[in-house]
C-alpha cells in the first residue's frame, strides 16, 4: 500500500480543483477511463510507468492522446504526476477520488459478492434492508464469484457480513482444528 497516503493527497487536490470547475463527475470518469486504458494495455503501462522514458516524451504522448478528449483538470493532473515522477500514484488516485466523490454525495461503498448474479428484486431487497439497518446510503458494486458456492458476502469498508457457504465451511474447519 505504498503511496496510499500520497494518492489520497493527490486525489483531494484534484477533487477540489475539479470542484472549482464544477466538473467533479466528468474529471472522475475521465481519470478512471485513462487509468483503465493505461492499465489495460501492457505496452501503455510500461511506457507510462517506466523511469527510463523521459518526462517530456511522456508529456508529449499524453497531450497527443488525451488533449481535447478529457477534461483539462484530468489532463493536468496526469501531466503533474509525470512531472513529479509519481506515475504509480495514478492507480491509487482513482479509487481515492471515487471515495471522495461518494463522501460528497453522502453515500458509502458497498460490495455484494454472490455465487451467482442476483436478480434485481433480490439486490434491491438486500440493499434497502442494509440501508435502513445502517442508516446510510450505499453505492453498490456487484461481484459474482462461483467459489462462494452459495449465499452472499457483503463488504462495507472494513465491515464484512458473511453469509456464504464457503465462509461457513471455513468457520467449521476452524472449530474442528482449534486446540480446544
Amino acid at each position: 500500500m505504498v503511496g496510499e497516503k500520497l494518492g489520497r493527497r493527490y486525489a483531494s487536490a484534484v477533487f477540489s480543483a475539479a470542484g472549482d470547475f464544477d466538473a467533479v463527475e466528468r474529471v472522475g470518469s475521465d481519470l478512471a477511463a485513462v487509468a483503465g486504458a493505461i492499465d489495460g494495455d501492457p505496452l501503455m503501462r510500461d511506457f507510462f510507468l517506466s523511469p527510463v522514458i523521459s518526462r517530456s516524451a511522456k508529456e508529449r504522448a499524453l497531450l497527443e492522446a488525451f488533449q481535447g478528449k478529457v477534461h483539462d483538470v484530468a489532463l493536468h493532473a496526469l501531466l503533474l504526476l509525470v512531472r513529479k515522477r509519481r506515475e504509480a500514484v495514478l492507480s491509487v488516485l482513482v479509487p481515492e477520488y471515487r471515495k471522495l466523490q461518494m463522501a460528497s454525495r453522502g453515500t458509502d461503498p458497498l460490495t455484494v459478492t454472490a455465487a451467482r448474479k442476483l436478480t434485481e428484486s433480490e439486490l434491491d431487497a438486500l440493499v434497502s434492508r442494509l440501508q435502513s439497518l445502517y442508516g446510510k446510503k450505499f453505492e453498490v458494486n456487484e461481484v459474482v464469484d462461483p467459489k462462494l458456492i452459495g449465499g452472499v458476502r457483503i463488504t462495507m469498508g472494513d465491515r464484512r457480513i458473511d453469509g456464504t457457504v464457503s465462509g461457513q465451511l471455513e468457520a467449521l474447519a476452524r472449530t474442528l482444528f482449534s486446540p480446544n
Binding site: K5, D158, R159, I161, D162, L172, L176, F177, P179, N180
Partner: protein, 499 residues
C-alpha cells in the same frame, strides 16, 4: 487408546452441533508480513492491544495503530500468513485461562498446555493486562514470605506482596534462589508461578523435574516460552503469569511469582519495538520499557482484608553483564522493586553460595514482615557481618592484629560460613532461628570453620531429635521467648560436648 470410530463420532457431534449463522466481522488485509510482524491495511476500528485473528486461525495483537495501517505482532509462527490474507477483529484483549486447574502444569504464554498432560479444565479466563490494585485496595506488607535461605530470611527478609529483585551476572545462582524459595513454600499454602522467559527448553524440563521430585509442582504453574518462539510470546509471558497469579490473589490466596528473567523480556520487547519502527532510546530500548516493567511489577500486592487479604509476591530476576548494575534495564528494575538481592561471581567462586552480597543487598519493606524471633537473632548477625566487611581487607594479616580485631574477623568468618547453604535445601524459619541464635551466642567460636556446615546440620538433627518442643514453640508463636532461649542454651551446650 481412542479408536477411529470414536474420533469419527466426536467429529460428527461437533459438525452436528455447529451452528450456521451469518457472521459479521471487521476485516483488514495483510500488506506486509515478516519477522513475526504483520502490517495490516484496514481494521480501522481496531483498538490498541486488541486480539486479531488471521485466516489460518493464528492470533496476533494490534500494537501500532497508524494512519493507514495497523502493526500486528503475531503470536506464533508467521509462515502460513500471506500478503493479501484477511485479518479479523475479535473485539477481545488477549486473555489466558486461569484458576487452580493450572497448578502442576507447564503452559505457554497463551495458557495452552505444553507438558503433554492433556487439556486444562477451566472455564475462567482473565485478560493478561490488568490495572494494578489501587491504594485503597492494598495494605502494607506485614507477613513474612520464607525463602528458606538463611542469608535472605535473616538479612534481606521478604514480605508477602513485596517485589524483590534478584540481580547478578550469568550463572551466579539467581534461578537457584528462586527455585529454593518455591520448594520452601511446600505446606505453607503459597501458590507459585514460575515464568521462564526465553529459557532453554532443556532448562525448563530439568527444572520442572526438580520441582516434581521435591513435591513442589502440585502448587506451582510454569509459564514457559523458549528462545525459538516469537518475540511477541516472550513479551506476553510475564503478563500471562501475572494474570494467573492475580486470579488466585483475588481469591484471598498467597502467590509467589518469579520472572526469569526480565532482561530477556526487555530484549524481546526491544526486538518487537524496533521491528515495529518505534523510535529507539537508550541502549536501543523503546521509550516505554520502564513503563513495561513498572506496570507489570505494580500488580504484585498485598490486598486489604476487605478484598480477602490475598497477596502476590514478585521475584523478578535481572541478569547483568560483567557486574554492570548501572546499565539501563538493571537500574530501571532496581528503582521499581522494593529491594534487591545482589549476587556476585567473586563470592560464588570463593565458594560462598548462595553468593549473596549482604552488604549491597537490601529489602526496603520486608523488615516489618520479619518474625520477632528472626528479628531478635538477625540484628547481631547484621552488625557482626558489617564489622567483618570493614575489616576483611586485613584478614590476611590476622597474626599482627590486636585481639579485638582478630575476634571480629573470626566471628565474621564463622557467620559467613554459616550463611552458606547447599541448593535445594531450604531451611524452616524455626531451624534458622535456632542456628543463628547459637552462632550469635558464640557457640560456634570453637568449631573449626571447615566443620561448621556439619556442625549446623548435626545441631538441627539433634534439636529435632531431643528438644523438638523448642523449634515447635518458635514456629507456632513466631517469638523467641526467654524460656526458649534458656532451653536452646542448654541444648547447644549439650550438643557441643558431643560434637
Amino acid at each position: 487408546m481412542i479408536n477411529a470410530d470414536e474420533i469419527a463420532g466426536i467429529l460428527k457431534a461437533q459438525i452436528e452441533s455447529f451452528k450456521t449463522q451469518v457472521q459479521e466481522d471487521e476485516v483488514g488485509t495483510v500488506i506486509e508480513v515478516g519477522a513475526n510482524l504483520a502490517r495490516v491495511y484496514g481494521l480501522r476500528g481496531v483498538r490498541a492491544s486488541e486480539l486479531v485473528e488471521f485466516a489460518d486461525g493464528m492470533q496476533g495483537v494490534a500494537l501500532n495503530l497508524e494512519e493507514d495501517n495497523v502493526g500486528v505482532v503475531i503470536l506464533g509462527s508467521d509462515k502460513d500468513i500471506k500478503e493479501g490474507d484477511k485479518v479479523r477483529r475479535t473485539g477481545r484483549i488477549a486473555s489466558v485461562p486461569v484458576g487452580e486447574a493450572l497448578l502442576g502444569r507447564v503452559v505457554n504464554p497463551l495458557g495452552q498446555p505444553i507438558d503433554g498432560k492433556g487439556p486444562i479444565e477451566t472455564n475462567r479466563y482473565r485478560t493478561i493486562e490488568n490495572t494494578a490494585p489501587s491504594v485503597v485496595q492494598r495494605q502494607g506488607v506485614k507477613q513474612p514470605l520464607q525463602t528458606g535461605i538463611r542469608a535472605i530470611d535473616a538479612l534481606i527478609p521478604i514480605g508477602k506482596g513485596q517485589r524483590e529483585l534478584i540481580i547478578g551476572d550469568r550463572s551466579t545462582g539467581k534461578t537457584a534462589i528462586a527455585i529454593d524459595t518455591i520448594i520452601n513454600q511446600k505446606g505453607m499454602n503459597v501458590f507459585c508461578i514460575y515464568v521462564a522467559i526465553g529459557q532453554k527448553n532443556s532448562t525448563v524440563a530439568a527444572l520442572s523435574q526438580v520441582l516434581e521430585q521435591k513435591g513442589a509442582m502440585e502448587y506451582t504453574t510454569i509459564v514457559a516460552v523458549s528462545p525459538a518462539e516469537a518475540a511477541a510470546l516472550r513479551w506476553l509471558a510475564p503478563f500471562a503469569g501475572a494474570a494467573m497469579g492475580e486470579e488466585l490473589m483475588m481469591k484471598g490466596k498467597d502467590v509467589l511469582i518469579v520472572f526469569d528473567d526480565l532482561t530477556k523480556h526487555a530484549q524481546s520487547y526491544r526486538e518487537m519495538s524496533l521491528l515495529l519502527r518505534r523510535p529507539p532510546g537508550r541502549e536501543a530500548y523503546p521509550g516505554d520499557v520502564f513503563f513495561l516493567h513498572s506496570r507489570l511489577l505494580e500488580r504484585a500486592a498485598k490486598l486489604s482484608d476487605e478484598l480477602g487479604g490475598g497477596s502476590m509476591t514478585a521475584l523478578p530476576i535481572i541478569e547483568t553483564q560483567a557486574g554492570d548494575f548501572a546499565a539501563y534495564i538493571p537500574t530501571n528494575v532496581i528503582s521499581i522493586t522494593d529491594g534487591q538481592i545482589y549476587l556476585t561471581p567473586e563470592l560464588f567462586f570463593q565458594g560462598i553460595r548462595p553468593a549473596v552480597d549482604v552488604g549491597l543487598s537490601v529489602s526496603r519493606v520486608g523488615g516489618s514482615a520479619q518474625t520477632k524471633a528472626m528479628k531478635s537473632v538477625a540484628g547481631q548477625l547484621k552488625l557482626e557481618l558489617a564489622q567483618y566487611r570493614d575489616l576483611a581487607a586485613f584478614a590476611k594479616l590476622s597474626s599482627d592484629l590486636d585481639k579485638q580485631t582478630q575476634t571480629q574477623l573470626m566471628r565474621g568468618e564463622k557467620m559467613t560460613e554459616l550463611l552458606k547453604q547447599p541448593q535445594y535445601q531450604p531451611q524452616k524459619m524455626e531451624d534458622q532461628v535456632a542456628l543463628l541464635y547459637g552462632a550469635g551466642k558464640g557457640y560456634v567460636n570453637d568449631i573449626p570453620t571447615a566443620r561448621l556446615q556439619a556442625w549446623a546440620k548435626g545441631f538441627i538433627d539433634f534439636l529435632h531429635a531431643k528438644y523438638a518442643s523448642i523449634p515447635e514453640g518458635i514456629a507456632s508463636s513466631g517469638q523467641l521467648s526467654d524460656d526458649a532461649k534458656k532451653q536452646l542454651d542448654a541444648a547447644l551446650t549439650e550438643y557441643n560436648k558431643s560434637f
